[in-house]
């Protein structure tokens, strides 16, 4: 087991871009964890003169926004929101996707047909429009945004899980389990799933990046939770001032881009490390 893990680490580390990505992700996670100690007071509090440019004041290294709020504090606290929503939405999507995909492939027949039609349905609905609809109907709460993003991003995971289950379903080890009288649920989640997991993990890590982008778009449109700091919301607030103070939009946008970039790089690295067969492509 341990050698397997070292093997995994070695293969992951061989991809230099993935290491850079991992470093960036760790930085963002570090900032998110440190935010309450670093900026202990409410980041949405007005602290100084509005529209101080970055690097002009030592107290506000990233400047202040149109209301005089500290951008650095909002970025640090926004990292918490972004990561939390990204992780939870990805987890939601993974759970839905694995359940649907595994059931469809294992049970087969009309259940498979029905679940695949359902997957198709969710692939057809324009995803951001669906998220906006849900948020506008249920209300602007961080939980609803998370669930909505999870609900629109599970389809690739379901398809991948189904394909993996299809290829594993009739292998000898599964037949052995069946002949031992193991229950379906235990075979599905205890025996087949661990073998099907690597490509699914890769997809889930990429879904985090997608979820971060979704959340930022929702918050940018002003439909996020108004009481929680978020990078997208900061861009949306700063948008009216692009003639004079475009840095208010630029800084959080860079934060989003670097985070998504890092998550994508880590996802690619995981792909190389977990699916060595596909590496040459």
């Amino acid at each position: 087991m341990l050698t397997l893990f070292f093997d995994f680490v070695r293969r992951f580390a061989r991809n230099r871009a993935a290491l850079v990505g991992l470093f960036l992700v760790l930085v963002v996670v570090g900032v998110a964890i440190a935010a309450p100690w670093w900026f202990p007071r409410n980041p949405l509090r007005i602290v100084g003169r509005p529209e101080i440019w970055p690097f002009m004041s030592s107290r506000y290294p990233l400047g202040t926004d149109s209301l005089g709020r500290d951008i650095a504090a909002m970025i640090a606290h926004g990292a918490r929101t972004t990561l939390l929503i990204g992780l939870c939405a990805s987890l939601t999507a993974t759970i839905i996707g694995i359940t649907v995909g595994a059931t469809a492939a294992y049970v087969g027949g009309w259940v498979d047909e029905l679940l695949m039609r359902l997957t198709e349905l969710f692939q057809t609905i324009p995803n951001l429009i669906f998220v906006l609809t849900i948020v506008s109907i249920l209300g602007q709460k961080i939980e609803y945004v998370t669930i909505a993003v999870g609900v629109v991003t599970w389809t690739p995971i379901a398809r991948m899980t189904r394909a993996e289950f299809m290829s594993l379903r009739d292998r000898e080890f599964v037949q052995a389990c069946r002949s031992m009288g193991m229950g379906s649920l235990r075979i599905m989640f205890g025996e087949i799933l661990p073998n099907a997991l690597p490509p699914v993990i890769v997809l889930s890590s990429l879904v985090i990046a997608g979820a971060v982008l979704f959340e930022s778009a929702v918050a940018f449109l002003g439909l996020g939770d108004p009481n929680v700091t978020s990078w997208g919301q900061l861009i949306g607030d700063g948008r009216t001032l692009i003639r004079t103070s475009w840095y208010i939009c630029a800084v959080p946008g860079l934060a989003i881009m670097l985070t998504v970039l890092a998550l994508n790089l880590v996802g690619d690295g995981l792909n190389d490390a977990l699916n060595p067969k596909l590496r040459d492509r």
Partner: protein, 322 residues
Amino acid sequence: MRRIIIRRLVQIIPLIFAVIVMNFVLIHLAPGSLFDVMTSEQQITDPKMLDQLRHTYGVDQPVSVQLAKYIWSVMRLDLGYSYRQNAPVFDVIMQQLPATLILMLAAVGIALLVGVTAGVLASIKVNTIWDNLISLGAVFFFAAPSFWLGIMMTVMFAVKLGWFPVGGMRTIGVDESAFGAVLDVMHHLVLPATALGLFYAATFARVMRASMLEVARLDFVRTARAKGLSGGRVVLAHVMRNAMLPIVTLLGLQLGTMLGGSVVIEAVFSWPGIGSLLFDSVMSRNFPMVLGVLVLGSLLVAVCNASVDLLYLRLDPRIKAR
């Protein structure tokens, strides 16, 4: 061939049916109704009038009857009435749809042009500085939120350089000939279409590069070279044509995301399309309009997907043989 087309179109029907049912569920999930909004905005205050409206909308009937009625009315393209625009929802959406279609088509065009060119270049010059630069660019544009890209492009090209207008679709107050109007719209279109298209260009570039490299290894390419065809001809007519197939698949899969992406881009550039309409309707809790956009948007994506599948059939005759 016609049978395949019909079969593919018939597949859309249950899909749309499911969207309608889901819509209905969403309406009933909503806390507060249209009537609450109307009373709170002081549009209607008379309780008698409210009862009258409840009856017209059939809210006083059982849920199953409401569902049947809703399905029936959507089938007849009756998506309800929008008090905000004082017009039927369907008419308002149809009025805004062309702008969104123009934006999406332009974005697809830019994405294909930039993405395919970059992918082909990267695959010809594989593992050189060009390849690395293109891959780097693709990684960046793949991660940048489109609305942020749009704002940054506005700052650069509209505010600082003044090359393009900041937003809108037409210059207000200028009465031009038809040709001038087209040029005017195209001028307004450059920034939003680029902001929306670059993300997909990044995806296409990555896929195109991989697919070109894969096809270039196949036997028929060696044959083409052995025949004495020039390098450029082999790449353009033999490798590229076959490497385009995954791009077509991807395009079909991403149309839904693209329609969603155009909502945000339209909000950034105040482009008068479905996105702006949706945004306005979400803000004013105009649910008939929001759900109408959802239904018609899904229908649009379903039809586009079917057309992409049929296009695929034309591009790759091997599929028909199966």
